[in-house]
Every structure is written in C-alpha cells, then in structure tokens.
Symmetry: C2
Subunit: 308 residues, 2 copies
C-alpha cells in the first residue's frame, strides 16, 4: 500500500528563493490528502501532475496566510473543472467563515459538496478514520491556535501461513487472523503463532508546523516513521524562534530524537536563508536520520532515510 | 514621463498553459498602480523585479477569485518586508469585508496604513486624481458588479518657446503657459501661438476586464491610446461568451474600432486555447492595431503598435 509524502512548499511566511508557502500531499493508498494550502498550491499540484479530483480531504493547520491562502483558488479550479465528488475540509472554525464569505461575494455555487469539519486543536483528538488510517490532531504551540496531524495506519490482520491454511476451517479464519488460537475438534490447541505471520508494522506520519519547541508532543510522536517538523531558524536565531513561536533545526531534531522517530524531514525555512544546509548540519548533531524537504520531493513513509 | 503597462497575468478563471490570473502593473511616472491581483501576483511582481514598496494604489475590478485572490498574500508580504508607506485599495465594498476578516482571524496588524475606497462601478466616476493623472471608473457588464479603470494624463501647460522667453515677464509666464496671449506695455498683443509650443498630447489607458460586449463604453473610450480589453473566447464560442458575460476577440476589436483607440491589447484568454493566435486573427479583421498581451510584456502608452 502506497504511503507517501510530497512536500509542495517548504518556505515560511515570505515566499522567496524558489521556496513556496506550505503545502503537502499525502498519498495513502491512492487516497490523497492535502495538508495546508499556501498561495500557489494549485500550481505546485499541477507541476506534480496531480489530478485535483483525487484529493479527498484537506487539513488546514492554522489561519496564517502562508498555510491557507491557496485554498480558494484550488476550490475554484476544482469547481471549474467540473468536480462533483465531495470534498472534506478540516480546519479552524475561522477558515469556514473565510471560505463561505468568499464563495458568497463571488456568487460561486460549488458543483461539489464541501463539508467543513472544525478541528479541535488538542493532541489525540480523532479527526478522521477510515478502513486504512486514522488521523489525529496534534496541539502545536503557535501564536494562533494551530493543529498538526498524525496519520497512522491501522493494525492489519495477521496473514494466515499458506502451509497451514488446510487446518483452519473457513468459518474460523477471521478469528485466527485476528489473533485467536485454533481449537481442533479433538481439543488440541494450535497456537496462533504457528498459523499466522506477523502483519506489516503499521506506518505513521506526523506533521508539526507551525510550532515552537513543544516537548509535550513527544508521547504522541513516539515511534512515528516519518516526522515533518518545522525548522524556521538556525540556532543563532533561537531567540527569534522563541519570540515568533517557531522552532530551530536543533529543536526539531530534539523532538525527533526524544520521540525515537524513523526519519525527520525539516521544512518551513525562513526566507533569510539562501540554503537550508546549516539547519541540516545543526539537526544532524542531535538526530542522524534527518533530511531536508524540497519543492516536489517525495518521501516514502516507513522507509528509513540515512543521516549524512 | 514614463507611462507603461505591464501585463503580469493574461489567463482567465482557470490557470493553465503558462498563463496566470489577471494582474497588471501601470507605471505612471514611476508611481506604480496595480490593477487586479489574481493568485500568485506577488510572484509575478518578483519575476518582473518590482519593489512592492513602490506600489501606491491597487484597483480591484470585481470579486471573482482570478482578479483578487493574490491580494492577501501581497499585503502580507508588504507587511513582512516592513512597509510603512500607506497603500490605497480601491474595489468593491465586499473586498474590504474579505480583507478585514482575514486580517482579523490571522491576527495581522499591518505595519502600514491600508486605506480602502469603495468603487462605484459607474462610468465616469472619479476614483483618484493627482497632479499627473485622473482615474475614472468604467461600468463593465459582468455577472458581478465590475469596474474597469480609465487612467488619463492631465492636459499639460504650454511650454514657452526658448527664443521668446525674453519678451515674457516672469510674472506673466504662468498665464502664458496656461494659454493667455501676452499684452505688452505698449498695448501690442502677442498671440499665445507665437510664444508657446503645443504640449505633448495627454495619454490615456483603459482597462476593460471582465466584460460582455458593452458598446455603451465607446464614448468613454474615445481616442484612448491603449485599451486592454478582455478576449476570453473566439467567435466560434460567441454564445458561451454571451452566457458567461465575457467578450470575443472580435467584440473587443469592435469596441476598439468604434472608439478609435490607438492600440488594442487582448487578454484574459480562456484556458481552452493553447494559443491566442486565432483570437488575434479575428480581432485584426476588425481593428488593425491589435496585439496580444503576454506574461511580463510591457506596452508603452501612446506608442502605436502596428497591426500585422
């Protein structure tokens, strides 16, 4: 099952140096989720060859413009392209007001149902669940109420071992796949471990932007395969990070190390930096499996990226 | 005095084929006006090397997203770049509501004064006047209330002929420049035509987008040097143009011909057309001095562009 993150925009509030405002595409078994939607996201999606119609859900973290200003244009393009498939929009209550006002004054009557769901920015709150994944909120520390997301695959059933299939009657298979031992007609107990294999480990992705250093997130991020954490500043500007409620690369790496995540992806780089290399160096001192995001780069969730 | 139009976006509602939504920069003697501001305008401005701080006024024609969705991002970038110089925003009353709501929910307190002036979309209404130009509204025909703009230089004073300077006493010069004849001490009348030269003809630019064919505009556009008129469709889709309240290239050219403008610039091309060449051909059949706009193209107001 495909589980991939594509970073479409990795800049901070002021677009510059070829970086665009925040937007991410998450492919979960060919269901597409969009996470944040800065100005120009529709263009980034076109460049990435994405069919807008495949986007099922959009999660907006907070109401700073670099995280949502591309939404109206994207909705408008979906409408003009004749979308009829419903779209779910998760975000702060204010977002709904902003969207509805603009639809009203532009006299736009969307051809597709747009369902808005207000996000409670509290870590662990369930935002969405289907048969593959659940999405929970993460309470980030920012100047505005801001919710990250944690997307986690469900535990899968235990696959039956092919060489033992013949001893499991069809009507007992569901139970065995769920972990039951098998009791034969003569009373013999065959332990589950002899009948099944371990299923693939459920994979998980966490999105933490924008946020100040927030160690209270660690228990929620424990063992996450892929963590995107904002890294607006280098350590030299730690005071500025604190003041603006952003993180340094080292702080992002500290969260990643303490939560023992698989791979850390840095992003949301301030426009003052020509290159993010210094941030990468500072993060690597704390956490080895760190990589930089880039416009259009794709990361497979569960694949461990090497430190450099 | 510089008087130049740069077309930053020449596409219609759905961005595609390298065309961007509508935005124009008008340089009037180094004062910059922005006319409409579709999504991504700040990026187009950067590509054109424009210092945002030099933009003094923004005119928004109407509330379809492809004409205003880039505004919040541009205001935000001006703010983040430390602008303190006041900015004037002219547009529909709804625009002010949309801007204020988004500033409020994002808790953005602009560092510069933003003055909003509601535009009455009635041809001939004065929107702005300084010592160089006046800007009047043009009532366009569209699904939403929509105002074009007509930017016209003032008549200039008549320059004194250098070889006659010695006979005009300093305290009479203002009168002579304004067109008075000179009465000498002995009662001789020297006609103004012997003392002064004709000043340069005042130049004018008109912006008509979005609009259905609107012949009632012709008297207001009479003799305009440069006319930008939308040309969303070819003649084959005249019915679609009528239905959506847009114009065909031929209709744009008919307005240009009837108003005897200097040059017609076509734009706002539907995304269904790979190239605007067919529209150019159809317009040229009616009006010779027609050119196509292009992303980043600059047109000098008053310079006659040849038909092909």
């Amino acid at each position: 099952l495909r589980f991939e993150l594509t970073t479409l925009g990795t800049g901070a509030a002021l677009p510059a140096r070829g970086r665009y405002p925040t937007a991410q595409l998450l492919n979960v078994g060919e269901e597409l989720y969009l996470i944040d939607c800065g100005e120009g996201t529709q263009e980034r999606l076109r460049q990435a060859g994405v069919n807008f119609n495949r986007i099922r859900r959009i999660f907006i973290s907070h109401m700073h413009g670099d995280h949502y200003l591309g939404l109206m244009g994207l909705l408008s393009s979906m409408h003009l392209q004749g979308r009829t498939r419903e779209l779910h929009l998760h975000g702060p209550q204010d977002l709904n007001e902003v969207v509805r006002l603009q639809l009203r004054v532009s006299e736009t009557y969307l051809r597709f149902p747009l369902h808005f769901e207000a996000v409670r920015a509290e870590s662990g709150v369930l935002l969405w669940r289907d048969d593959r994944v659940s999405v929970h909120a993460l309470a980030l520390r920012h100047r505005l109420t801001c919710a990250g997301v944690l997307v986690r695959e469900h535990e899968q059933l235990r696959p039956l071992r092919k060489d033992k299939l013949f001893i499991v009657p069809p009507y007992r298979r569901a139970g065995v796949k769920a972990g039951d031992d098998l009791v034969l007609d003569d009373g013999t107990v065959v332990p589950n471990s002899e009948l099944t294999e371990d299923p693939p480990k459920p994979r998980s992705y966490a999105y933490c932007s924008d946020t100040a250093y927030a160690p209270e997130l660690v228990p929620f991020l424990e063992g996450v395969d892929l963590l995107y954490h904002e890294s607006t500043f280098t350590e030299a500007l730690a005071a500025r990070a604190k003041e603006t409620m952003h993180s340094t690369a080292r702080q992002a790496a500290t969260i990643a190390r303490d939560a023992r995540v698989g791979t850390l992806v840095l992003g949301h780089f301030s426009s003052r930096y020509k290159s993010a290399d210094q941030m990468l160096r500072e993060a690597l001192e704390v956490f080895e499996a760190t990589v930089l995001s880039d416009e259009g780069a794709t990361f497979t969730v569960g694949q461990r990226f090497p430190g450099r």
